[in-house]
Symmetry: none
Subunit: 97 residues, 2 copies
């Protein structure tokens, strides 16, 4: 029988988090934005997380309630202070190798 | 340090695991990330498994809880130390909606 936590915390969901140059991407489980920020810092070796944005369009994920609307396996980018999101190079206009 | 919750041995699930150059792919049953790592090492003759990543986008599967969210027949790539994931040449991502 599976034991559920007594309704306090949302169920942890899977996210995929990449660094600013997209050289590393990690699957991370998190139940809240703060939880994800903490885990990202360890998992991607980012000592000082500035912000989390959606990889697809750079939308900043700043609030817990917006975070909770993200689907399973949403792809996020972690930005350190002073770094900026840039469009993924393999989006539709890229030349084939 | 990871602890298994008592009495919660996950059912083994099927995975499809390929090597870094995608020349070999094997169907492997595993109930945990550690179990899969061990079986991959034998099955694909990789003496020193560095990491497992999702074949579709290179997401690193480092944690047991993220591993448990993967669907049956998820395609993974085993990477040895120093090897890197590269996008599958026939990936349809460019032409998706």
């Amino acid at each position: 029988t599976q034991q559920l936590l007594s309704g306090r915390a949302p169920r942890p969901k899977p996210f995929r988090v990449t660094n600013a140059d997209r050289s590393v991407k990690k699957g991370i489980m998190a139940s809240s934005l703060e939880d994800l920020m903490n885990k990202v810092s360890d998992s991607l070796s980012v000592p000082c997380v500035g912000s989390l944005v959606l990889d697809e369009d750079g939308t900043g994920v700043d609030t817990e309630d917006f975070f909770q609307t993200l689907p399973d396996n949403a792809v996020l980018m972690v930005l350190e202070e002073g770094h900026k999101w840039t469009l993924h190079p393999s989006s539709p206009s890229r030349d084939q190798l």
